[in-house]
């Protein structure tokens, strides 16, 4: 892709080449200074997030700070141009590849990884002392010069694009790389050098173990939530001293994490010396320059660094308000001492390491949670089977003992009577009761009624009962009919002649069952997506009751079985249990991914 015309016009002293990179921080073009012949990389910052006056002014200030950074492990900024809406940074172009490309190319050894870590932390420490946070440390931003010197690129740009103290853009979005983002950064909280330390620790974790500290198969949101709420997996296959240092840099709680890059680097240097022996840095072949005396001391000490007393991590809390955010930020840039603590050899933790505080091991947690989810799902399936079986076992008819002398539509009510509800019903019987009433119900729920005066007919009576016109659309299948002749009440089974599904009892129950199912799936999807379903503990079973009852009614109507209230209650309970267990399984599974450990 060729450079846009406005970029060429803004930098007339440079030959603008092709685009060599693109990301959330903008687009990068290759360039060459026409006079000096110096190769440069030109970063065009995203104008859509810089078109605010405050952002532009902030960036002007930041650009001056960035240009003042002078450290062998920081990519130098040569120039800054602002014309119209364009914000252009001209930086040294590094053609030796990135840590990302080297890692995915031939891989890096343990010594090289530690050396890269020291170089990164050296650059970060220098920037932090100048009051600049990086906030997007990742292998792609760690570049090698052709001489093999590693430099950190893109300092401070993330913070400029965001609203300063936090990393929330004007559009309310979080800026960062989900795989390496610090918990407080993911939550939009106050930021300090500890955020860069966390990202650098994640890079080291990846370089040493070949994997990220969190499950990276569930997408960006899940990754960010894991950073926020989940402890990282114990780093596998890494010697304990180094693992302890790295895991401390990944502590979710700020107090448990290194507060400054220098102390992280010093502990890393000491741990690496303890593991690889003196001279490991030279053997790595990765130049690390301008080490501070503290790091040099660590490099020469070979003393295994001590983790803090309480190495447990707790969820990062959001500050109470914007003032808290700003206050935390302004103070956070002051270097503070590392946290001393009692030795805990098993800090890096395998199952046998015995983590402090007696907290369970995440791996065993995950396995236990997975087994629980399976059991919950099996139980839910069993409840669903019970529901279906109960619905199918509904008896064809409820026990009635009507008089054989009573006739409806010419048929004795001693057996189920089939009638057309759209037509008047003729009831005949012995004696003359005066008033006659017919009530239709299903499981005790009234569906329609009709009353008429009985007329003498020979030795008995005859009465013409006309049900409300709506009854033909409501009643389907078999229902319970109650006839009151004077003071005598008799019940019998009444079957409608129309198709069972052509009724509110048939089609309506089917729609209700599907509605409950869709509603439940909607709630489960909410949980699966990592959100909270408020009232799930009640909502799930209630939907289950609705589903179970609707299934029971639908099956009864379609099979022309007289609805039995006992079986209906059983189906409703089974549905409630099934839905409750399904919801519990979903919540458990979601908690396994992003579990607020409370530790």
């Amino acid at each position: 892709m060729s450079a846009p015309a406005e970029l060429v016009a803004a930098l007339p002293q440079y030959d603008i080449g092709a685009e060599i990179g693109e990301g959330g921080m903008g687009v990068v073009f290759a360039g060459t200074h026409r006079t000096l012949g110096r190769s440069v990389a030109i970063k065009q910052l995203p104008w859509d997030v810089l078109n605010h006056t405050t952002s532009s002014e902030l960036f002007d200030r930041e650009a001056r700070v960035l240009a003042s950074l002078d450290h062998p492990h920081i990519v130098p900024v040569y120039d800054y141009v602002r014309t119209g809406r364009e914000h252009l940074l001209v930086m040294e172009r590094l053609d030796g590849g990135t840590v990302h490309s080297r890692f995915h190319g031939g891989g890096v050894s343990g010594e090289q990884a530690c050396a890269i870590g020291l170089a990164t932390l050296a650059g970060l420490h220098a920037a932090h002392r100048a009051g600049v946070l990086h906030l997007d440390v990742k292998p792609r931003n760690l570049l090698f010069s052709t001489q093999g010197v590693m430099k950190v690129a893109d300092f401070g740009i993330a913070r400029v694009i965001s609203e300063g103290a936090t990393l929330v853009t004007h559009g309310g979005e979080i800026l960062g790389t989900p795989a390496y983002i610090a918990p407080e950064q993911a939550m939009g909280n106050a930021l300090s050098p500890a955020a860069d330390i966390y990202a650098a620790g994640t890079v080291l974790y990846e370089l040493l173990s070949g994997q990220l500290p969190f499950d990276n198969t569930r997408g960006a949101i899940s990754m960010m939530r894991q950073h926020m709420f989940t402890d990282p997996k114990p780093i596998p296959g890494v010697p304990t001293p180094i693992a302890g240092v790295i895991m401390r840099s990944l502590a979710r709680e700020l107090e448990a994490r290194y507060r400054e890059a220098e102390s992280f680097a010093a502990d890393l240097a000491a741990a690496a010396t303890a593991v690889y022996g003196p001279g490991w840095l030279e053997r790595s072949g990765v130049p690390v320059l301008h080490l501070t005396p503290r790091v040099i001391a660590g490099l020469n000490s070979a003393t295994v660094p001590s983790p803090p007393v309480d190495a447990r991590t707790r969820p990062v809390r959001r500050p109470s308000g914007p003032n808290a955010t700003l206050a935390a930020t302004s103070g956070s840039l002051n270097p503070g001492p590392g946290l001393p603590g009692a030795p805990d050899p098993g800090w890096a933790g395998g199952p046998a390491s015995g983590r402090t505080g007696g907290s369970p091991d995440p791996a065993s947690d995950s396995a236990g949670s997975g087994a629980a989810v399976v059991w919950l799902r099996l139980a839910a399936a069993a409840a669903a089977i019970v529901l279906v079986v109960l619905a199918l076992l509904t008896p064809s008819r409820l026990p009635h003992e009507p008089s054989a002398t009573l006739n409806l539509g010419g048929a004795s009510v001693a057996a189920p009577v089939e009638v057309d509800l759209s037509k008047p019903l003729t009831l005949t019987g012995p004696g003359n009761p005066g008033g006659v009433a017919l009530d239709l119900s299903a499981a005790g729920i009234p569906l329609g009624s009709a009353e008429a005066q009985a007329k003498p007919d020979g030795n008995g009576f005859t009465a013409e009962l006309t049900l409300p016109g709506i009854a033909r659309w409501i009643v389907g299948g078999a229902v319970t009919a109650t006839v009151r002749t004077g003071s005598v009440t008799q019940t019998f089974t009444l079957v409608t002649s129309q198709h069972p599904l052509a009724s509110a009892m048939g089609a309506g129950s089917l729609i209700l069952a599907l509605f409950a199912l869709a509603y439940l799936e909607s709630g489960l999807r909410t949980i699966r997506n990592g959100h909270r379903w408020r009232g799930a503990a009640v909502g799930g079973p209630v939907l289950g009751v609705l589903f179970g009852a609707a299934v029971w009614l639908c099956v009864s109507v379609l099979r022309v079985h007289e609805p039995s209230p006992g079986f209906g209650a059983g189906c409703a309970v089974a549905g409630a249990v099934a839905a409750g267990l399904v919801v519990a399984a979903a919540r458990r599974r979601a908690a396994a991914v992003s579990r607020p450990s409370g530790r």
């Binding site: 990301g23 959330g24 990302h100 997007d136 990742k138 792609r140 993330a158 929330v168 853009t169 559009g171 309310g172 979005e173 979080i174 800026l175 960062g176 790389t177 989900p178 795989a179 993911a186 939550m187 939009g188 990276n216 569930r218 997408g219 960006a220 949101i221 899940s222 990754m223 939530r225 759209s422 037509k423 008047p424 016109g469 709506i470 033909r472 659309w473 129309q498 198709h499 052509a502 089609a507 729609i511 599907l514 509605f515 199912l517 869709a518 509603y519 909607s522 709630g523 999807r525 909410t526 699966r528 997506n529 990592g530 959100h531 909270r532 379903w533 408020r534 009232g535 799930a536 909502g539």
Partner: protein, 269 residues
């Protein structure tokens, strides 16, 4: 797809409601007894086979003191206030005061096959010169017409559209594709409810499952629509998707992205 179905159902409903003719204010001054093919139509479902001629016998009784002149006889089928077929026969006759007249007409209903099918509320009317109704007898005609008749296609289309409307609405509910606004979610379910009412009134009569009842057709349609709207109104607020805002898989490829600020989203709002 859901919008198309909703529009289809809504159009059908509009056709029904807007196309409804004004109710006849005058029920007539003549008593009327009607037989079709020698079978009285009162309280009976009258089969009508368009392939054969229909013998329509009317017995008009005039209880008044003045003679009444009848100009024509109309046989019509009406559902949801829409006239799906109407046959007029001009045969002037006079019914004397306190007397009755019997007339027999032979109707050729050959075209009815393409106009209606199923159980259709029908009426036989006596009309005067001003086409005012002098007497009327109603029944339910079991028209043995084609499924591809106007009434048949209308009923079947309503059935299909309503099933699709329910499926799309429920799938949208399950997949969090409904609108965040509760009223709009209710409106999303409204066409399905209207369709259900229309199916109850028209499709079931086309399929000869339930004979129609003209008096409560409109309440059935509106009641079904209200229930569906209520169901839609009670649906939960759709949660935002878990997928990343930017393409690809940023969690894996290490690209800097802008993502929505993750915050516990309330499911029910």
């Amino acid at each position: 797809m859901g919008r198309v179905i909703a529009a289809g159902v809504a159009l059908g409903l509009c056709a029904v409601l807007v196309g409804a003719p004004p109710a006849s204010a005058d029920s007539g001054s003549l008593g009327l007894q009607v037989s079709i093919d020698s079978r009285p139509i009162d309280d009976a479902t009258v089969p009508i086979d368009p392939a054969s001629q229909v013998e329509l016998q009317v017995v008009a009784t005039n209880p008044g003191a003045a003679p009444v002149k009848v100009r024509s006889v109309r046989l019509s089928g009406v559902a949801l206030a829409l006239t799906f077929f109407a046959y007029d026969t001009t045969a002037p006759f006079e019914v004397p005061a306190r007397g009755s007249v019997t007339r027999t007409f032979v109707l050729d209903l050959g075209d009815l096959s393409g106009q209606a099918t199923g159980l259709l509320p029908s009426s036989v009317e006596l009309l005067d010169a001003q086409r005012a109704t002098l007497g009327e007898a109603t029944t339910v005609a079991d028209v043995r017409g084609s499924f591809w008749s106007v009434y048949g296609v209308f009923g079947l289309a309503m059935l299909v559209l309503t099933v699709l409307a329910w499926l799309t609405a429920l799938l949208a509910l399950a997949r969090h594709k409904l609108a965040p606004n509760r009223w709009r979610r209710g409106l999303r379910f409204l066409p399905a409810g209207f369709g259900t009412g229309l199916v109850a009134v028209i499709s079931l009569s086309v399929l000869r499952l339930v004979p129609p009842e003209p008096a409560i057709e409109i309440p059935v349609v509106l009641g079904a629509a209200a229930i569906a709207f209520l169901l839609g109104y009670l649906t939960p607020h759709p949660a935002p998707p878990a997928a990343p805002a930017s393409p690809g898989s940023p969690a894996e490829d290490g690209t800097t992205v802008r993502l929505p600020l993750p915050s516990p989203q309330e499911f029910t709002r």
